[in-house]
Amino acid sequence: MNDEKIAQYGDELYNAWHACRTVAPLLQREPEITIDDAYRIQLRMVECRVQAGERIVGKKIGVTSKPVQDFLGVYQPDFGQLTSGMIYQEGETIDLGKLIQPKAEAELAFVLKRDLIGPGITAMDVISATDYVAPCFEIVDSRITDWKIKIQDTVADNASCGVFVIGNAHGDPRKLDIALAGMVLEKNGELFSTSVGAAVQGSPANAVAWLANTLGALGIPLRAGEVILSGSQSALVPIVDGDELVCSIGGLGSCRVKFAGRSAV
């Protein structure tokens, strides 16, 4: 795909995000689009956000669990870029009015204290480079109409990033069994689902190593201080005005999030 088209779709997705509206799936319009093209579109979309004043604060990993991989017919994860405008603190209410068709996912977040530069990164390097891990919520959102996404659509749309909340419970990954740490997700006081770290690539640290290596091949380092959302351990949770979610990770602690307002769709 030529640079002109990449820029055109990147701008289109940025404008859709900015205006809180959806666009038709890109793959329907451009059947030849490759995953590499989609990442170039993503870079353009994120560049527009940076030019508008945001900073890159980290990365998210998506498509990490078997059910989602089966759904998309893709047997590797994808990634998107986290920007400063996506951050909510735990305790702040998330404004659904700024989102289009949001859904929540519960994950383990990593915050780095050292750079991770692939290729050649192992899960052990990830633990060594991690400052702390924390329970978190990623609120995914899609700029593609009705979430009718194929892998190229979601990659181009910055891996369907919306906003995210890192819990105040911080833990040292050296003291936590991150593969076997259980996750309990409650919605409005009732059990919604349970899971375990191993649901993400056998261990969330494996997903982060995959990310470092994939970015390394593209010449992009993971920097000290960056946040990495390692991939959903839960099913997608539908959310509406007034909902409250709590995710508890065994041996680590909880993250609580509240929602208010109405999303665009």
């Binding site: 069994d177 076997l180 259980g182 309990v184 059990l191 191993a198 056998g202 065994g250 041996g251």
Partner: protein, 267 residues
Amino acid sequence: MNPGLNLTREDIVRLCERVDGAQRRAYAIPKLTDEYPAMTIADGYAVQAELRRRYLSRGSRLVGWKAGLTSRAKMLQMGVHVPSIGFLTDDMYRPENSAISTSDLVHPRAECEVAFVTKKTLKGPHCTRQDVLDATDYVLPAVEIIDSRFSGFKFDLPSVVADNGSSARYVAGGRARYPAEIDLRTLGVVMEKNGEIVAMGASAAVLGHPAEAIAMLVNILAEQGEELAAGSFVMSGGITEAIPVKAGDCIIARYQELGSVSIRFVE
């Protein structure tokens, strides 16, 4: 006749013989309610009590109890909406790392559970999660091999209760822990079959907290005029869905804080 019973004593003995035969000779039978549509859950427990009497009269030792159908995953899988209980004897027990024969089972499935060993008598009704924790000596990881004697693993609650909650074999091991030293609600569990992850979950999947399932079990026992003796081994119900196993399969259940339990299946 006791309240809730629709079957006569004769029917109960007859159904017990049918279940006992299917268990001992490992063959599948139609669910009991096909012939007795009016059979109630209380009738199911009457059949189970008769079955227990027979086990014990043949020399089996009562080791403890199991709660069944305690997670949403299991209730959905089996199409029932109330938990159940069953008894556990020494001859159903298999040690950790042992080879379990499948030739005397119908269609076995394995599931991961948190097990409790009690140090005080627990008596219902109104037994609570806290009562259970106070009476617990230690908890440990377990794998239960369930084996419904009903064709196609298809049953309703009266039938499965009569079949002793599909109890067949159980294995416990790993690392014993005091319940006060761990968060029993958020324990993660991974089941691997032949090296591949086949089921996952966290312990809250069982009625919000595994001790809740033990309290429920004590309260069901109370309805039958029984109590849970000190020193009982009690399984709180599958955290994961039950995974079919056959000869040649190897199962490893890995638990946060509790170590792992491994078993293999042979002809």
